[in-house]
């Protein structure tokens, strides 16, 4: 596999009482993440470099329909169970791992800008050969406030302020 199987997936809870999971618990179909959760390098004119072109940020990343007119009040990373693992594989063809990992979530105020993404590492071994897809770090926090680095077991291994 040319990827590291996921062990955690995100769930966003909204102020209207509804919630959205990265993978639909009934079908395993994936919902698009909010693009703002992974910060982009924006220049002073609000432009970003995307796929080789300079474009205004919001033009590059319209807010997905399922996030429009919604306010996220809680956001977190949660482990897969066996049932969802099977459904995700059937829906996407990609493997994810059921684990006994802990879940972790943060509460958000209306003005908070959530940060939620994965940091992947690939190790290139020069002589012994090949590449290794190393452990994924799950990042969660609030821009300008606390940022958590979470390992595949759901443990916080770094906290940045």
């Amino acid at each position: 596999m040319q990827y590291r199987p996921l062990t955690l997936f995100w769930i966003a809870e909204f102020s209207d009482g509804s919630a959205l999971a990265q993978f639909d618990p009934d079908t395993g179909v994936e919902a698009q993440a909010h693009p703002d959760w992974l910060p982009s390098k924006v220049d002073k004119d609000g432009m970003i470099e995307k796929d080789g072109k300079k474009v205004p940020y919001r033009e590059a990343y319209p807010i997905p329909e399922h996030f429009r007119n919604k306010t996220v009040k809680r956001l977190g990373w949660y482990p897969f169970n066996f049932d969802l693992t099977r459904k995700v594989f059937n829906a996407t063809g990609k493997a994810v791992l059921p684990t006994a990992s802990e879940s972790i979530a943060i509460n958000l105020s209306p003005d908070d800008k959530p940060v939620c993404y994965r940091s992947h590492e690939i190790k290139l071994h020069t002589r012994s050969g090949g590449v290794e897809y190393a452990e994924t770090v799950y990042v969660l926090g609030i821009k300008g406030k606390k940022i958590l680095h979470i390992d595949e077991k759901g443990k916080v291994n770094k906290e940045l302020n």
């Binding site: 040319q2 990827y3 590291r4 199987p5 996921l6 994936e30 698009q32 993440a33 909010h34 693009p35 959760w37 992974l38 982009s40 390098k41 970003i48 470099e49 995307k50 796929d51 080789g52 590059a60 990343y61 996407t92 990609k94 939620c116 993404y117 994965r118 940091s119 992947h120 590492e121 690939i122 190790k123 290139l124 071994h125 020069t126 002589r127 012994s128 050969g129 090949g130 590449v131 190393a134 990042v139």
Partner: protein, 196 residues
Amino acid sequence: MVATVNVQQAVGGSDGSPASYNNVTASTRLQTKDQFAPADMSYPIPIPTSGFKYSYWIHVCLDLSGTFTKINNVRFYSDGSIGWNFGTNGELRRGNRDSGDHGCPMPSEYDVATGTEADTGDAIEDETDGHDYYNTQTTPTANVASDTEASPALIDSADHTAAEKTKAVVLQCQVASDAVQGEQSDETLSFKYDEI
């Protein structure tokens, strides 16, 4: 969903147009020929009587595919110590830019590796035969041993939202006259990137 990501080495072709991108699945060697994953050691870097000899430079990038919302912030680093015997002032170096990220845009700035086979590659910083994306920079190369997990080299700061290549790290060995010959030890070089 998590993107499918391959580490690729671009080889051959002409400037701006590599002949091929090859998934790295076996050993990566820096030697005095522009070739991918050689199984043999036919093109070692000779130890010079004075000055330096160089490997041919190599371009290594990430190939992104599959479904993902955004990938950015591609970084590159070592464990802080390259255990190869390069001799005095020898090093494993990478192409370096004076500002912005340090990766070579692919394929537009790809510069086919040149030199004299079985003798030496052209130095990245060489004004005439060096790598055109780097050789006019004030500091055209940086020591990979200085790129660490805590302070990695930023290779590609742009956003990627579709299947494509990231910018490439351009690597080259510099070997001095007091280097010790022989096949060198395994080294681990790491890429990191962020995805949602």
